[in-house]
Symmetry: C2
Subunit: 384 residues, 2 copies
């Protein structure tokens, strides 16, 4: 309808606060103006607080995939052995990145929907030395949340640099970079932080940065070579490449909103909302794809019900009720759909989404007692 009143309930990009949208519409300022330099500094400081890290932080213009590349390209040298722990579409990107940068990959794969088994990670780390270990926090393809705190203990015990992609986790669920021993942590701007897509955020621990500084071979990337960026992150008056001024200002505003809410309260809100969505969906007889106890609080991934085409469910939800949810990704296309609930998400969004799901299923002949899922969700949402 063009009146911009759709509900965007996909697992990123997510809905952005009008406060942040207004910042996007401000006239562009110089990237070396005092106003912008100050905003960049504040964004870096807020990023440090978001990651709960005293390490080096970086904000680069580009997608989360660029962040993954920066994590690998700066750490991995030709011949370095890396253990890639995988259980989803995004986790599998790390192996390609390690290989592209000359590293030797050993893969430890788990079924999609199953969490990483820390005992098996330890077994593999015992077998031979690894320079680094990669893992997804939340894999957006399956809705799994891996126990990255426990994996971190294993990585530390075996002296492997610990690289975590939390693109779909941080801001929605606890990520304690320093406490959990995460050496390189990365995310994107467009998920639970609630900013528009186009920026990637990273942290490097002292250990990780020593490895970068002590490289024997140059980083083959230029744009993702973080030693070229460090002077800018230490003093944003310096220049390496022109940052996306409006995205940076929008990120600062989104991070201010995150900190106004408080990380603990934000994690709790996401937990309540996620539980409301999960129980609502299950009350309709739908099965959740990821293993119980390891479900992310940022998205819910139900399996498509028997005899109902998930594309049709999503089409009705979108066209009739104006609620946008995502289809399955990769090998889960057609088998699951994905409901994102992170960032600025409210109780109202959850109620509207579940109602749209109920009505769409009813219209497609799937047996639903109207109001069931919404009722189940309400019982959780009162905890907000």
């Amino acid at each position: 309808m063009g009146d911009e009143r759709e509900l965007l309930m996909i697992p990123g990009p997510t809905m952005v606060s009008p406060r942040v949208l207004r910042v996007m519409a401000k006239p562009v300022v110089s990237h070396v103006s005092g106003e912008f330099v100050e905003a960049f500094r504040e964004a870096l400081e807020l990023t440090r607080r978001l990651f709960l890290s005293e390490g080096r932080v970086f904000i680069l213009s580009g997608s989360g995939t660029l962040g993954m590349e920066a994590a690998i390209a700066n750490v991995v040298e030709p011949g370095d052995r890396v253990l890639c722990v995988e259980n989803g579409f995004f986790g599998e990107k790390f192996k390609d990145l390690v290989r592209a940068h000359g590293g030797e990959v050993d893969r430890l794969t788990f079924e999609w929907g199953e969490p990483v088994d820390v005992g098996l990670v330890r077994e593999r780390l015992e077998e031979k030395p690894y320079k680094a270990l990669t893992v997804e926090h939340v894999d957006t393809s399956t809705g799994i949340a891996n126990p990255i705190d426990k994996v971190g203990e294993a990585a530390r015990d075996f002296d492997a640099l610990y690289i975590v992609d939390t693109v779909c986790g941080i801001g929605a669920m606890p990520v304690k970079v320093d406490e959990w021993g995460i050496d390189v942590c990365l995310t994107g701007s467009q998920k639970a932080i609630g900013a528009p897509p186009g920026l990637t955020l990273l942290t490097f621990s002292d250990d990780a940065w020593r490895v970068v500084e002590g490289r024997e071979t140059p980083v083959t990337d230029y744009y993702a070579d973080l030693r070229r960026w460090l002077p800018v992150m230490e003093n944003p008056q310096r220049y390496f490449a022109t940052p996306s001024v409006p995205l940076l200002l929008a990120l600062r505003e989104a991070l201010r909103i995150v900190m106004e809410e408080g990380l603990e309260e934000r994690w709790r809100r996401h937990e309540v909302i996620a539980e409301a969505v999960r129980r609502g969906v299950q009350s309709l007889g739908l099965t959740l794809f990821p293993r119980e106890g390891y479900r992310a609080n940022s998205l819910t991934v139900p399996e498509a019900p028997e005899g109902v085409a998930e594309q049709e469910v999503r089409r009705l939800m979108r066209e009739k009720y104006r609620v946008i949810v995502a289809g399955g990704l990769g090998r889960l296309a057609g088998r699951t759909f994905r409901i994102g609930h992170m960032g600025t998400v409210t109780a109202n969004d959850v109620v509207a989404t579940l109602a749209a799901l109920e009505m769409s299923l009813m219209e497609l002949g799937y047996p639903v007692e109207a109001g069931t899922a919404v009722g189940e969700a309400e019982k959780q949402l009162t905890r907000l």
Copy 2:
């Protein structure tokens, strides 16, 4: 003052049309929605028209420096010999990029402010075979516009792939990619196109793409590996990495404005405005840094007048008259300043900028007859 009425007259980022700013403030839509996919397609088609090319076009989330890297990383393999033709801060980036990707660099350098001498380029190309030749169209550090049409003839005669960075040229001055035999051409979103910073645009000719397809070694970059992006550019419904949705929509709107004006008319407007600025500045006794006849129409680079601190001139212009111009870059810091006039720039902006320059110089004791520069500019601006 915070009322967002400053005039941003730096050589990028430039002022963005309110039409484009309103697009930036729209609620974020899904990157796989029909609406976005259609916008991406249109942006790619408009990019093709901007570059006057039937070749492959790419739009990536990232700075212009990422575009430079994509140009080099996809073409250059270890051991490949590249002739880097340089006459400014940005041209010198190419040698670093070629080396980072294992290439052998021969540099042909000209004094900053002097144009590339095509005869000398030919001499170098005669000496030995080169896989590629790199050159800046407009080097934003000096305000020079190189004769890229003539350099293209030389590259073609010697079968070297011709790589041109026109970050600060295209949209303001003619760039005829196919007609001039440019194999790889790149720009950023934030200069004469009039969009905010954060996207880079590239074209690859059939010859260049054959080289990419026929590589013996893999591209070491992952995010800038254009073979991973090509399927998305052919059909934006496909996924490789999440694009910056608002920047892409803003770029489409900015390119629509470019095409509504028409390329020829836009080039003419920039020529008139540039001539007005040049004559205005010169009428105050200031010397222009780049050689006459090779001055870009997108920015003007005057030398700081004797006995006047250019930082003071810029500070007064900014604080008192709210006109933001840039200082000298690299080795020209303190020696020159840079006035950007591209994209949405109007006659009013030129008049205001020259008046602010006059008043600031007067206040600093430099002899100026009030209205001189504005008067000289008006004689040109009536040609609009």
